[in-house]
Amino acid sequence: MSEWWSYRLGSFLLFSQRTYGSLVASYNAEIWPLQPVLVALGLVALVVAARSRSPLHARLVWLLLGGAWCWVAWAFHLRRFSTINWAAEYLAWVFALQGMALLWAGAVHSSLSFQPRSPARSALGGGIVVVALLAWPLVAPGLGRPWAQAESFGSFPDPTAIATLGFLTLAPRAPGWLMVIPLVVGALGLTMAWALQIAAA
């Protein structure tokens, strides 16, 4: 369509920063205290990925990640975000697809071993996971929003996608196609956050 060039970033926003923040806070209250549990499990998974050579342990890590994607698909996108964004129903399918792919490749087929890997891969992958688990929840408060609007791994799309990219980086034989959806989701999330900030300015 020739008019696509005329759309701005804000043209695709269906809701305000205030409404999105309220939705995030309400969702956080509903699932509490699942958030710290999931972040703690993510940290345990990072330690396992970094140190363990056990295929069973690796499977458990991918089980956690696959489950997190499926949980976000249902609990966040389908039950919550879809109330203000019709596109969330499609995002829920995308998240479920990624979750199933991680479960199939990592937990069922056990093809995503974390060994052997280079020190550079360890540093990069580990760093990405640490950012997703520990730094991402600080973004909302850092931008002046309440703690209740913090977004954490396993509960929200962006930190889950970023952590997944980190774990996939830690797995030397991880196929590139498993990174496509997390990359797209991360880009979409950053774009939306930027557009909301601009709109709220």
């Binding site: 008019e3 005329s6 269906l14 809701f15 305000s16 939705l23 109330t83 964004n85």
Partner: protein, 325 residues
């Protein structure tokens, strides 16, 4: 508590008042104001005067010059407090004499939020319900319209517009058939921010439309060239969306002082200045600013109660704004 229906005398008085304002723009304070059930809504700071109206060319039915948009502002999901706030805005809108509310299936939860407002404030009887059809292929249009109607809680829409020209050929067949069957009063088509005006123009020339909805603001005056004159020529009502450009226009204008001569136009804020410009174009039937605030919705309706700028004043408003932007 159901909204009290006007008595025969009140109804007659109302009709006369509306016709006076439409035909001659006579003093609008003579018009009676529709009453709504009392709630906890804060009282209006001053006596409310009914807004000026313009007739829909295809029927001569008058509609207030200021309506209520719902893009983003009414998409509040299931948040009960936010829904009540929207319902309060609707109540203030109706209390100030507003009628036309515009929505779309594209606007997230806005249809349901409007439905909540109409139900909880017993206002369904007084609304001019304007919605859109936005789905492709066009065969899915009737099902979407049924869903929209159910979300609003109205038996039929007053106006349905093809949103952003999507599958307009198929949807217009559906909408004209609904109108012929008495299940719809007006048919329209919408676009925004200057998109696809050439195609819109073709549709306006070839189809018996009652309404078009386009973006028209102090800064975005692209429709003045061809669309608005064509609407007048073809007898098509015009809904002006984004008169404040989602607040962007007002944020820019706020950096500058309001010119002293704005007082002559009965404007004491940039919002009044911008809205008065949009509704004073004779081709515009109604502008639909969106808001989440009661004071803003009252201010918007109040803009339509005073004197409207003439062509010379409008040119001065546009020229002054061009210098600032």
């Amino acid at each position: 508590m159901p909204m009290p229906l006007p008595s025969a005398d009140r109804r007659t008085l109302l009709r006369r008042g509306l016709m006076l304002s439409v035909c001659g723009m006579l003093p609008v304070h003579a018009q009676p104001r529709r009453e709504l059930p009392a709630t906890s809504l804060p009282p209006s700071p001053s006596a409310v005067v009914a807004p000026l109206m313009r007739p829909i060319p295809s029927s001569s039915e008058p509609v207030p010059l200021v309506g209520l948009g719902s893009w983003i502002t009414f998409n509040v999901g299931n948040d009960p407090a936010a829904r009540e706030q929207c319902a309060d805005v609707m109540q203030a809108f109706f209390g100030a004499g507003g009628k036309l509310i515009d929505c779309s299936p594209m606007y997230g939860s806005s249809q349901e939020v409007i439905g909540h407002g109409l139900r909880s404030r017993n206002a369904a009887a007084g609304v001019f319900a304007a919605d859109k059809v936005w789905v492709s292929p066009g065969a899915r249009g009737p099902a979407q319209i049924d869903t929209s109607s159910s979300r609003w809680g109205v038996p039929r829409f007053d106006l349905l517009q093809v949103h952003n020209l999507l599958s307009w050929q198929e949807h217009l067949v559906t909408l004209f058939a609904m109108k012929a069957a008495g299940r719809l009063r007006y048919v329209g088509i919408s676009t925004s921010e200057g998109r696809r005006h050439a195609e819109l123009e073709q549709i306006m020339r070839s189809q018996p439309l009652d309404f078009v909805q386009v973006t028209y603001s102090l800064r975005d005056r692209r429709v003045e060239e061809r669309i608005l004159p064509l609407a007048q020529e073809r007898g098509i009502a015009v809904i002006a969306n984004r008169p404040f450009e989602q607040g962007d226009l007002l944020r820019i204008l706020a950096r500058h002082p309001l010119p002293a001569w704005a007082a002559e136009l009965q404007c004491s804020s940039w919002a009044q200045f911008a809205l008065k410009f949009a509704i004073s174009n004779p081709a515009v039937t109604c502008a639909i600013p969106a808001t989440t605030r009661i004071d803003h919705v009252r201010e918007n309706l109040a803009v339509a109660t005073g004197r409207l700028p003439d062509a010379a004043a409008r040119a001065r408003m546009a020229a002054h704004t061009d210098k600032l932007l």
